[in-house]
Symmetry: C2
Subunit: 328 residues, 2 copies
């Protein structure tokens, strides 16, 4: 299977994207199509040892930037790396697409070119959420700012399939993010969703609260895209503030610096545990193809791990499993 | 001014509540009425040196527990410490009420007995949110799971007055919690609220995102009570997971333990910065009286600091300032 990568999307593109693609080919035996400005991609590849790697370039003359209006740019820039990469999947020339560029543009392009699975009302972003004991899936992480309870039920179904097939979690525990454990606690949306989840065949464990998100007592966290996006960015922001303050404290005096040196391996491990690059990307689920959205800051490691997740999702038939589940 | 404290509310009641009241009298020269089972309160006071302190007991024979249904219990248990404490404020015998018991019951009791300020549609909880540079106010932290944009505008007005009067922040920067900085980003509720805030006389700085919450670039964070409650509990949960993991790492081997010892003062400072007990309690704003809701785990320090905040709110005329602002 070939994975199409938007080589021009992301804060560190094309350099880190291309390096990540090379690593994916080398370490995961992946087949990759790098889509973007050929001279730029070649310029990076030229200095690397890539003989024998299954690495192709597909030229695309335009770039969608963070300043572009997502929907307009996807329609106007037909020869952009993002659009061309999605079309490769549409035409069956690639099995999945990965982009670390504008999330809005990536969603629009995949929605437009891959299309929704029949029966799915709203595709949703399933983002890996590191927790105390491992990793779970948060769905929706921002594709749908306003949702209804039927959307939420479909998010739960899709997230559950992804957690099982890609993270290898047997019978994933599905929790509904709310503001109290009791089923009578929540807003109108979660109260209605709770009823639907209770009647579903999912392994629904009930409501969870904000404090449970990082405890690891739930594998699939279901919420609307507004709440999910706040949760995601808050988790990232708070971790970074805390680590920043520890770093400042370590630099404050000699004793602290010594303490910091002694604890460096432990801090490194802790940081790695929370590190999004370990998981690479978040799929936009509900489409007739695998589309992985990378973090804007994606480095080579994140790109490589996004390729790994995309390959696994294809390999495990996530799209057909979702199609079957919603059309039962 | 006298402050009525529900001595029986909270996980550590009555012991820590009574000790906090003593500290408040001693350190802040507060006048406190401890409301609850007289023998129990007396039993704690008897072993303490309280001569000269302005400390009274007001007997109340019933207790509202966490197992009680909030609304039903407030109506049924008319001689509960929570209801009696609120009635003291209603009758003008106390200037403010503090409870660390069931949040739902505390809200119901204050709403019922103190009553809403005319013009205020929905009272809201304004919770202190520690950040990298100090402290801000998050409103609504959970009183209203479903809100409309007019509610949100009033939350912004009330939060702004509280931040200015109690935290001494001049022209507090008001941010609307959303999922993108641009005013076109958000859900239906935040898009509508953005318009209202833009036209208001508040120091509105636009949308903020989850990652900004702990950065300290905003003094009043406005959101619906569902999102606010998730934010609050997530922040608490993630900090506790991170500190827990650092603690485990420090215990893992001798070098780490030494590192931990050297960094102990720094960690202590960092923890104190995030510590809710520093700020004591969160007022339910929009009522004809000051009602402070304490954290369920409130210890003596939290109670003392809740008394401090309540005294300041009374002193600075927060209720009359809100009344004037909404009836302009």
């Amino acid at each position: 299977m070939k994975i199409a990568i938007d080589a021009m999307g992301g804060d560190l593109a094309p350099q880190e994207i291309v390096l990540g693609a090379i690593d994916a080919c080398r370490e995961l035996n992946a087949e990759v199509i790098l889509v973007g400005l050929e001279p730029n991609i070649k310029g990076i590849l030229d200095s690397k040892q890539i003989t024998g790697l299954k690495l192709e370039i597909c030229h695309a003359s335009e770039i969608i930037t963070m300043e572009d209006h997502p929907a307009l740019a996807v329609k106007a820039k037909k020869d952009s790396s993002l659009v061309v990469a999605n079309q490769l999947v549409k035409r069956g020339e690639a099995a999945a697409v990965i982009s670390a560029g504008s999330t809005g543009a990536a969603m629009t392009a995949s929605l437009l070119h891959l299309g929704r699975i029949g029966g799915i009302k709203r595709p949703a972003i399933a983002t890996p959420m590191p927790n105390r004991l491992g990793v779970g899936v948060l769905i929706d992480a921002g594709a749908n700012a306003d949702c209804d309870s039927e959307n939420m039920l479909q998010f739960a179904v899709m997230g559950s399939i992804y957690a099982e097939k890609v993270f290898g979690i047997n019978k994933p525990r599905v929790g509904l993010l709310s503001i109290g454990e009791e089923e009578t606690k929540g807003n109108k949306l979660t109260l209605e969703t709770h009823e639907l989840l209770k009647e579903s065949e999912l392994n629904f464990i009930g409501n969870i609260e904000g404090r449970d998100i990082h405890q690891g007592n739930c594998d699939v966290i279901v919420c609307d895209g507004f709440t999910g996006n706040v949760v995601l960015k808050l988790s990232e922001g708070l971790s970074s503030v805390l680590f920043g303050q520890i770093k400042a404290a370590v630099a404050a005096n000699c004793l602290n610096t010594l303490g910091g040196l002694l604890l460096k391996p432990a801090f490194g491990k802790l940081k790695a545990q929370l590190d999004y690059t370990e998981y690479g990307g978040a799929p936009l689920l509900g489409l007739k193809g695998i589309s992985m959205i990378g973090h804007g800051k994606s480095n080579a490691k994140a790109v490589k791990n996004a390729v790994r997740a995309a390959m696994k999702a294809v390999d495990q038939g996530v799209v057909s499993k979702i199609t079957a589940a919603v059309n039962r």
